[in-house]
């Protein structure tokens, strides 16, 4: 089993005619992902790796009513429009690969997604992979092996090193999910933890956070309710301090956002804290029945 994506789930690529969109469509197809079409407004009539290119997501969905996942590879200034278009067209999972999307845009996408019950991963996510089945995004396949550990990370590169460490430790993944490294993202840790908690192909979950923001702190409450063990790693213990967002930031965040605050909250929620990524397999072994 796996969450969100497997070899039967139909996907499209928005921005398929771009350099990255085109390259990774090929890599996704090679991996086994069921990419059925692509979208680039103004480029209908073209073909990319044998896939038909549409002007609008709407037309795509008319021709392939089972599309469940889209990934977005367009430049930052078009990302909001692309995501809203996909949500409006009824696609239920939207993977926003694009990074450096304006914050106000992403807040808008997030609101619309919540209203329509759509899961948005990203912006600035590497995507997700269910090893041996399918991947959406640009994750390097080499590290990911089929297995029974779910992983969730904010950073793309950390997602890869997590898988790498699990591989060394003899584990593999049910699904590895990047929720995105931008300041404002769609789904947060909790949304994805819920999927793994329900998935009978997942025995334990690894959560990798980093300094800044409050998503890790927010996840802690839900971890308390989970039946499966959660191993958490926080990057940035030695990071230079970022600048404060005036008094307003302090008034709103109330001390959250540091590595210490995140580790304290996650530990309080019952997560097992890994000092390094390499330490994760040991903690899995100790905490899996």
């Amino acid at each position: 089993m796996a969450v969100i994506i497997d070899e039967k789930v139909e996907c499209i690529v928005q921005g398929i005619t771009g350099k990255s969109g085109s390259l990774h469509t090929k890599l996704m197809l090679n991996y086994g992902t069921k990419v059925v079409a692509g979208v680039t407004p103004g480029k209908s009539g073209e073909e990319v790796h044998g896939l038909k290119v549409y002007d609008t997501v709407e037309e795509c969905v008319e021709d392939f009513p089972n599309i469940a996942v889209t990934s977005i590879w367009v430049p930052p200034r078009f990302a909001k429009d692309a995501a809203l278009e996909a949500i409006e067209a009824g696609i239920k999972t939207v993977i926003v690969i694009t990074e450096m999307i304006p914050i106000h845009d992403m807040l808008h996408v997030r609101k619309k997604a919540k209203e329509k019950g759509v899961m948005v991963l990203g912006g600035n996510t590497p995507g997700l992979i269910s090893p041996g089945k399918a991947k959406v995004g640009m994750l390097p396949e080499i590290a990911f092996k089929p297995g029974r550990i779910g992983t969730i990370a904010r950073s793309g590169s950390i997602t890869y090193y997590l898988a790498n460490a699990l591989d060394i430790g003899g584990y593999g993944e049910s699904t590895s999910i990047g929720i995105g490294g931008d300041p404002i993202i769609g789904a947060n840790f909790e949304d994805v933890l819920k999927l793994f908690e329900k998935d009978d192909g997942t025995d334990a979950v690894v959560l990798a956070g980093e300094i800044g923001g409050v998503y890790e702190e927010l996840a802690a409450e839900y971890i308390k309710e989970m039946s499966k063990p959660v191993i958490a790693y926080i990057a940035g213990r030695y990071a230079p301090k970022g600048k404060r967002m005036g008094h307003a930031g302090a008034i709103i965040q109330r001390g959250m956002g540091t590595a210490e605050s995140k580790i304290r909250a996650l530990r309080g929620g019952g997560a097992h804290i890994a000092e390094t990524i390499g330490d994760i397999p040991r903690l899995i072994k100790e905490n899996l029945n």
Binding site: S20, H24, L27, P76, R77, E99, M100, I101, P102, I103, H104, L107, H108, R110, K111, N124, P126, M138, L139, P140, I142, A143, R154, S155, G156, S157, I158, T159, Y160, Y161, N164, A165, I168, P183, I184, A208, E210, I211, G213, V214, L218, A235, G236, R237, Y238, A239, P240, M245, G246, H247, A248, G249, A250, I251, I252, Q253, R254, E275, T276, G278
Partner: protein
């Protein structure tokens, strides 16, 4: 990114926010333009950081001569690492009461938050902690707007009445508008002063704007506001990186860190510390960097006299291994041709387009083995921890 106080005020004046009469002085010569009617005046060092008052960056001058001396002193100062390059001179205002008004994004709520308090001033954070009931928050979805009555309602809730309620209500409404129209991440007016004459005047103004949204605000570029701001606190290398548009922070150690994305960049700094090493920097290539940018990144480390060895890692995702290899080879060739020393590099490469990258390295090694004497490139089967440990050992072997 943060705007200077004088820039924030220039923008917010168009939204009818009332400020004290003021003049920006960049050059000590300009002091003579000040007429006597400016005094007594407040002299404010323009730096892109909070807390300048406590750091001596805000002075009062009773006369023009007094101001001259003090401005000259301020223009030579450094505040929290920032050079003071200009001073804003404003007529002094007799303050009766200090309010606080801010608009920001609450990342817990994912909404715009308007924050107001009847107790503004430099201690507003302590007040917020001690007297939570003195802080009034109002949330708005990013695709919504507020109407003037919301401003009045907030003004009422911080205890205002009559004309002051109207004025402060209007200010709140206007600040929200400016925040939305300029992709703000923070606007803070602290203090928003009530003067002894019952006037309302915004004494300070902080305006932070989303750098990723700058492209849609040509007015800022017209005002000379570009993503060039925090230069004051940057080291030489940090300035170069900012010019080239990638994040870079100098640290205290001797191991140059050339990672992939920001996430592993932070983790790599942690790991080097964890295994007893000292990183010389934090760096982030961003997604899908160009060959040119990666060459600049390596160059920054090679040229840093503190750096003994470079730790490199590429786990190819959107950033492709083949381009990474191309950048390293190209840089090494140029450095060699320039007759400069190639410092040891301990690196690992895995991921997308790895095969292509490895072929590039093999060909280059065969063609120009001299470039690779102190350069090691491990593959997927060597754990990253081992690569880092070897990096640290290499650094230890090199004499400081």
């Amino acid at each position: 990114m943060r705007l200077h106080e004088f820039e924030a005020k220039e923008i917010l004046k168009k939204y009818k926010i009332p400020f004290a009469e003021g003049m920006l002085i960049r050059d000590a010569k300009d002091i003579d333009k000040l007429t006597q009617e400016y005094f007594p005046a407040i002299l404010k060092a323009q730096v892109l950081v909070g807390g300048r008052g406590k750091a001596g960056g805000i002075l009062t001058a009773e006369t023009r001569d007094d101001a001259k001396a003090k401005i000259q002193k301020l223009l030579g100062m450094k505040i929290k690492g920032y050079n003071v390059e200009s001073v804003l001179v404003e007529k002094k205002v007799d303050v009766e009461d200090e309010l606080y008004v801010a608009v920001t994004i609450d990342r817990l709520e994912h909404r715009i938050a308007i924050i107001t308090s009847e107790m503004g001033g430099i201690n507003v954070e302590q007040i917020a902690e001690k007297y939570q009931e003195k802080i009034v928050k109002y949330y708005v979805d990013v695709d919504e707007t507020i109407h003037p009555y919301v401003g009045r309602s907030l003004a009422k809730r911080i205890g205002l009445k009559g004309k002051q309620l109207i004025k402060v209500g209007g200010i709140i409404h206007s600040l929200f508008k400016a925040f939305k129209e300029f992709d703000g991440t923070l606007i803070e007016i602290n203090p928003l002063a009530i003067t002894k004459n019952n006037e309302v005047i915004a004494l300070d103004a902080v305006f932070n704007i989303d750098t990723d949204a700058l492209y849609r605000h040509p007015k800022l570029a017209e005002m000379g506001i570009k993503p060039r701001h925090e230069v004051g606190e940057l080291t030489e290398r940090e300035k170069i990186a900012r010019e080239a548009n990638f994040p870079y922070v100098d640290l205290e150690g001797d191991i140059g860190v050339f990672p992939g994305g920001a996430g592993f960049g932070i983790a790599a700094v942690d790991l080097i510390h964890h295994f007893g090493g000292k990183p010389a920097n934090f760096m982030d290539s961003g997604g899908g960097p160009t060959v040119e940018r990666m060459e600049q990144m390596i160059g920054l480390l090679m040229d840093n006299p503190k750096v003994k060895v470079i730790f490199g890692a590429r786990f190819g995702g959107i950033s492709r291994c083949d381009l990474w290899a191309e950048a390293i080879i190209s840089y090494l060739k140029k450095r060699h041709a320039d007759g400069k020393q190639i410092k040891p590099m301990v690196m690992r490469m895995a991921g997308n387009m790895e095969k292509e990258g490895r072929e590039l390295f093999e060909k280059a090694k065969k063609d120009e083995p001299q470039l690779f004497k102190v350069v090691k490139i491990y593959a997927y089967n060597t754990p990253i921890e081992e690569v880092i440990k070897e990096t640290i050992r290499t650094a230890e072997r090199i004499e400081g």
